[in-house]
């Protein structure tokens, strides 16, 4: 039965992984990754819990203000990088001059962005861009516009409606002339669109997309039920030996990353955290304890309490990479893949941990992740502290490890006993063969 399901899942996984748009989206977020890491380091430094004891109030404010430009220049305007990245990688996937694709996408996005801000008193300040529109709030509009503009741009380029320069003209010059007509046409489309929306409907696409697409989707994705469904599918895919995150994240990342950015923006401006679920909740509390399925607890159980050679070998191989949340040795070595004895703890443990972590944050025992970016390879305890800026975040990880340990233990013990029995039988057979061998010689 497992084989049949596996045959059914592999093509779906392949389609999702190889989908052009999802692949482009994944690469575009990776473009923002090093930048947001830089911003995150500075946010963590500026908000270290003991800082207010060491520094005077004015000094602390000074430090926070000086370091504050780091998140402002990175994650608070993350949509800029994602939009450029989508334009760039989409053009590249069609083998069209990529850097122009990126530049056109960014310009198209800015064409739809109001260059004025209305203050609370109703005053209109012109010639300014609202930072939040370039960050979390504009993320979904940005993604939509970048894909649309990228498609229009490459269609015109591929139809060869371009100005060709004679041979001998430097490539940079001829390329920028070749990009001329596609760029002008693409940008005109978005300019006209903006005129229709602003003049005809007295609004802007930022607000429209935010209200009708982004807020509902992000609200749904930030809830417990959707998270449990996503976690369930990640575990199921891994059970069939397929990389669950690569497949599910390509769908969920836009939502989870937006939730992180919204949290961070709120955190750096007023210290509040609107969301519990976000990218770091998933990575720190569901991957950050030994890898998918939080197998660090499994390795500890194996190393301390299991006796069969097979398990000991997996434990020894798995613990090193496991500290950095790489757990292929456990998944394929134990094995977890297609192992009906392990299906239950493999699926149940992460679901329970999700509910426990969510509840701990909802009732205020542990602060939700602030949204600072943390690479998924950061070891347990450290990642929990960095994500929540509180030692309570680390303690929650330890509680989760204990939960996983308790759920897995009886199953591991059972498999261990079976392994030992097999190993003993194999040994007896060998010994019997050894005993017989000399006799035959005589």
């Amino acid at each position: 039965m497992f084989d049949k399901l596996s045959k059914f899942l592999i093509p779906i996984a392949g389609k999702l992984n190889n989908n052009r748009y999802l692949g482009v989206l994944r690469d575009a977020f990776m473009l923002a990754f090093p930048l947001t890491i830089f911003g995150s380091i500075m946010v963590v430094l500026a908000n270290l819990p003991f800082l207010d004891n060491v520094l005077s109030e004015t000094m602390l404010a000074g430090v926070q203000e000086s370091l504050g430009s780091a998140p402002n220049a990175t994650m608070n305007i993350a949509s800029v990088f994602v939009v450029f990245g989508i334009g760039y990688y989409l053009a590249k996937s069609y083998q069209v001059e990529a850097v122009f694709g990126g530049a056109v996408a960014l310009t198209a996005f800015l064409l739809l962005t109001p260059f004025f801000v209305s203050t609370e008193s109703g005053e209109v300040v012109s010639n300014v861009l609202a930072v939040d529109r370039l960050g979390a709030k504009g993320m979904f509009l940005g993604m939509i516009v970048a894909f649309l503009s990228g498609e229009i741009y490459r269609l015109i380029t591929q139809k060869k409606i371009v100005i060709n320069m004679p041979a001998g003209v430097p490539p940079a010059v001829s390329q920028s002339f070749a990009a001329l007509i596609p760029a002008v046409v693409t940008l005109s489309v978005f300019l006209i669109l903006n005129i229709i929306v602003t003049q005809g409907f007295h609004t802007n696409l930022h607000d429209v997309i935010f209200k009708t697409v982004q807020a509902p989707l992000v609200g749904l994705g930030g809830g417990l039920p959707a998270t449990l469904i996503a976690v369930f599918f990640i575990q199921i895919l891994w059970f069939f030996g397929l990389h669950g995150q690569i497949i599910i994240n390509s769908v969920m990342d836009p939502i989870w990353n937006t939730l992180s950015l919204e949290n961070l923006q709120a955190y750096t401006s007023n210290g509040e955290l609107p969301h519990i679920i976000n990218k770091q909740f998933i990575e720190v509390y569901l991957v950050g304890a030994g890898g998918t399925g939080m197998t660090l607890a499994v390795l500890v159980a194996i190393l301390l309490f299991m006796k069969s050679k097979q398990m000991k070998q997996v434990g020894k191989l798995g613990i090193g990479p496991g500290i950095f949340n790489v757990n292929e040795p456990v998944i394929f070595g134990l094995p977890i893949v297609m192992n009906p004895l392990i299906l239950l703890p493999w699926i149940i443990a992460p679901l329970i941990v999700t509910v426990v972590s969510y509840t701990a944050m909802a009732i205020g025992l542990v602060p939700p992740p602030t949204g600072v970016t943390i690479p998924w390879t950061v070891p347990i305890f450290i990642s929990g502290f960095l994500a929540t800026n509180s030692i309570a975040g680390s303690l929650l990880q330890l509680v989760n490890v204990l939960i996983v340990f308790a759920i897995w233990f009886p199953f591991l013990k059972f498999i261990d006993r079976m392994n030992m029995k097999q190993e003993r039988e194999a040994e007896q057979k060998n010994r019997a063969a050894d005993m017989q061998a000399p006799k035959e010689k005589i």
Binding site: N17, E328, V330, I331, F332
Partner: protein
């Protein structure tokens, strides 16, 4: 010389196996170049390889990579699950060699 390219999601988990495979190749005095890359890089680097092995968690890449590998006349195969999990360098190396043998 045998040139073996390993591909997985980011090249991270497969690099474990690379070390073991290199150690095994050395132990039998065979000259081998073995390296691991992520899925994006795999297509670009396969022209320098004699065979491509994929981590089992990325088995769904096989069709795509195999189509790409055809022009270089090399084989693409998924690494045996147990060999991958137990980082069994010997088994994975032999798998690679048998695939190279089948091509040439």
């Amino acid at each position: 010389m045998n040139r073996i390219l390993l591909a997985c999601s980011s090249g991270m988990s497969t690099s474990l196996l690379v070390t073991k495979m290199q150690a095994f190749a050395k132990s039998i005095d065979e000259d081998a170049e073995i390296w691991a890359v992520g899925q994006e890089q795999a297509k670009k680097e396969m022209e320098n390889a004699d065979v491509v092995l994929i981590g089992p968690q990325m088995s769904f890449l096989k069709g795509e990579l195999a189509a790409e590998a055809q022009q270089y006349g090399i084989k693409v195969e998924v690494i045996d699950m147990m060999a991958y999990g137990m980082a069994d360098g010997e088994k994975a190396y032999k798998q690679a060699i048998s695939l190279i043998g089948a091509t040439s």
